[in-house]
């Protein structure tokens, strides 16, 4: 069984890496300005490449964070969006916009990802506490419902802040719709450090997430420091998510679709699910970003619209299958 398992694992890893490179090449080749040539190299390097890089980073981070949240909360339905992390980060970002981007431009560290992180962390903590308080029966749905409430609350506060700061509405809405379409290398540089730290921490905990699958008590009886590991993983996942959300806007469902697809293909062990989600998530978002550029050329279809278009039906199918299992 072991030999067979190892071969299968390798095969999926190779397939995922190959698909990733195909996606990168397609992402660089396709766009309104046509194929790669010396004449449009400037467009390729300054428009398409950062866009592909950012889509890849965002997709990788959201998928990895989604898989990690699912592991740490033992709940297959959660993702950064449904837990309220994205909404919390959105509120944080809105506050920064309301204060004014000019006011903070001189700061040594851009406060946008940091405040997004704090907002995201507060949101996920509230979701978890509410979900845990009323979800003693270990129902996956309670946590999702708590997430819905937190998303509503944070969105309401965000609307309130926006109303009092009419002047930044345009800025905030274009942020909400996502900046993948006009990404620059500066955006990539802004998020990359957070994403790297977050990914390394999460990947180092993949064995622990397998232990979490048997529940808190049994994991503890096997020597796991459940509470501490849960906090470390939630903080790392939230930091990465908030950083990417602060440049990409709210992109839903990636964190739930990708890990599930990976599980179906390569098995449910987090040792495979986490690294494969990273690669497949990057591939997925790079690919999903391509039709948005050319579909309604010269206008752009926001990437969040495309992922929701695929993600919402997928989520409903998932809910149905979980229901039939229970």
């Amino acid at each position: 069984m072991n030999v067979h398992d190892v071969t299968r694992r390798r095969w999926w890893t190779i397939a995922a890496v190959a698909a990733f490179f195909v996606a990168v090449i397609l992402g660089v080749m396709i766009g309104p300005a046509g194929r790669v040539s010396s004449a449009n190299w400037d467009i390729i390097w300054n428009v398409r490449m950062p866009r592909v890089a950012l889509a890849g980073i965002v997709g990788a981070m959201l998928s990895l964070a989604g898989a990690s949240y699912q592991g740490v909360f033992r709940n297959p339905l959660v993702d950064p969006y449904l837990l309220g992390v994205a909404a919390g980060a959105g509120l944080g970002a809105t506050i920064i916009f309301a204060i004014g981007r000019q006011a903070t431009s001189g700061w040594p560290v851009d406060p946008l990802p940091l405040v997004s992180f704090v907002g995201g962390l507060v949101a996920v903590m509230i979701t978890y506490l509410v979900g845990a308080a009323f979800g003693a029966s270990r129902s996956s749905v309670t946590l999702v419902l708590a997430g819905v409430a937190v998303v509503s609350l944070f969105t309401a506060i965000q609307t309130f802040v926006l109303q009092r700061n009419n002047d930044v509405i345009r800025e905030v809405y274009s942020w909400i719709l996502g900046r993948v379409s006009n990404a620059t290398w500066a955006d990539v540089r802004l998020v990359l450090p957070y994403v790297i730290v977050s990914s390394v921490v999460l990947l180092l905990h993949r064995r622990h997430l397998d232990l979490f699958r048997v529940g808190d008590d049994e994991a503890a009886s096997l020597g796991s420091d459940v509470a501490r590991i849960r906090i470390v993983v939630v903080i790392a996942a939230t930091m990465g998510t908030a950083a990417v959300v602060s440049v990409s806007g709210l992109i839903g469902f990636v964190g739930v679709i990708v890990p599930h697809a990976v599980r179906m293909l390569a098995g449910a062990s987090y040792r495979r699910v986490l690294p494969l989600s990273l690669i497949v998530g990057a591939t997925f978002l790079i690919l999903v970003d391509i039709p948005g550029r050319v579909l309604q050329d010269p206008a752009e279809t926001p990437i969040g619209v495309v992922t929701a278009f695929f993600g919402a039906p997928f989520f409903i199918v998932l809910l149905r299958s979980k229901k039939s299992m229970a």
Partner: protein, 259 residues
């Protein structure tokens, strides 16, 4: 081979006493069975030994208190099988038993070749090799129970705690599971503490029974001493006939009031 020492161990949940100070020494290789009605404190003792609930008093293995041990070190001394273990449907049997090696793996590390070989040999000993690659969701109740015991065995802890190990099994699988624990106890010198509802089975397999009632120890000794009709009537509110067979087996039979 390790002895377990419990000195005035008590457990309190939200000011409600779940277990009054409980003192007992379990010899190396001995099987102590906790019996008593629901809510008597059986699970509380097991959970306290496993380090899952805060407790007062001292719990020691081979004379050294567990409270000074790290969670990981403790898990190499005490293996715990809960009443309803969580078996993820999409986890393979091999992956599941491998979890038993967790206490031996460093925080950022992964299981070594030795750990995998260890799991393989446990699966062989328990006749589970053919299940190794199967998903847990496809296994029967008896197979699942054997896997849970296999995981505890892979933990290589000298003290084994079993909370109602047979409650979900039919009589044949109950017997198989208990025979397995008994065999492993003899082969490896495991010290076993279990909680059980079936009094006849408890008396049949355990060296010693401890009867608990509302958190207090009310009787302790061998089956013939503890399983008496008047005792069971007093603490379980049950009307039973106790029958002792020629080989010494004590059989507890419920009595119907209307004939």
């Amino acid at each position: 081979m390790s002895s377990l020492h419990l000195d005035a161990v008590s457990v309190t949940y939200d000011r409600r006493v779940a277990l009054a100070p409980f003192t007992s020494d379990v010899r190396s290789g001995e099987w102590l069975c906790l019996i008593g009605p629901n809510g008597a404190g059986k699970s509380s003792i097991l959970r306290a030994i496993a380090g899952l609930v805060p407790h007062d008093g001292v719990i020691a293995v081979d004379g050294a208190p567990l409270s000074i041990r790290s969670a990981r070190r403790r898990a190499t001394l005490v293996a715990y099988v809960p009443q309803s273990p969580v078996l993820p449907d999409d986890m393979t049997a091999f992956e599941y038993v491998l979890l038993g090696r967790s206490p031996y793996v460093s925080y950022f590390g992964h299981e070594s070749r030795h750990d995998r070989a260890m799991v393989q040999s446990v699966l062989e000993r328990l006749d589970l090799v053919s299940f190794a690659g199967r998903h847990l969701g496809t296994l029967s109740g008896g197979e699942r129970q054997r896997l849970v015991i296999a995981r505890a065995l892979a933990q290589e802890a000298p003290v084994l705690l079993l909370d109602e190990p047979t409650s979900a099994l039919d009589i044949g699988h109950q017997q198989q599971a208990l025979e397995l624990v008994d065999r492993l106890r003899r082969e490896h010198g495991l010290t076993v503490v279990s909680a059980m509802h079936d009094l006849t089975l408890a008396g049949l397999y355990a060296d010693r029974l401890a009867l608990l009632h509302e958190g207090h120890l009310v009787a302790m000794g061998d089956a013939a001493h503890v399983l008496r009709a008047e005792t069971l009537s007093e603490f379980y509110g049950a009307s039973v006939t106790v029958h002792q067979q020629d080989d010494g087996t004590v059989v507890v039979i419920p009595r119907r009031s209307l004939q």
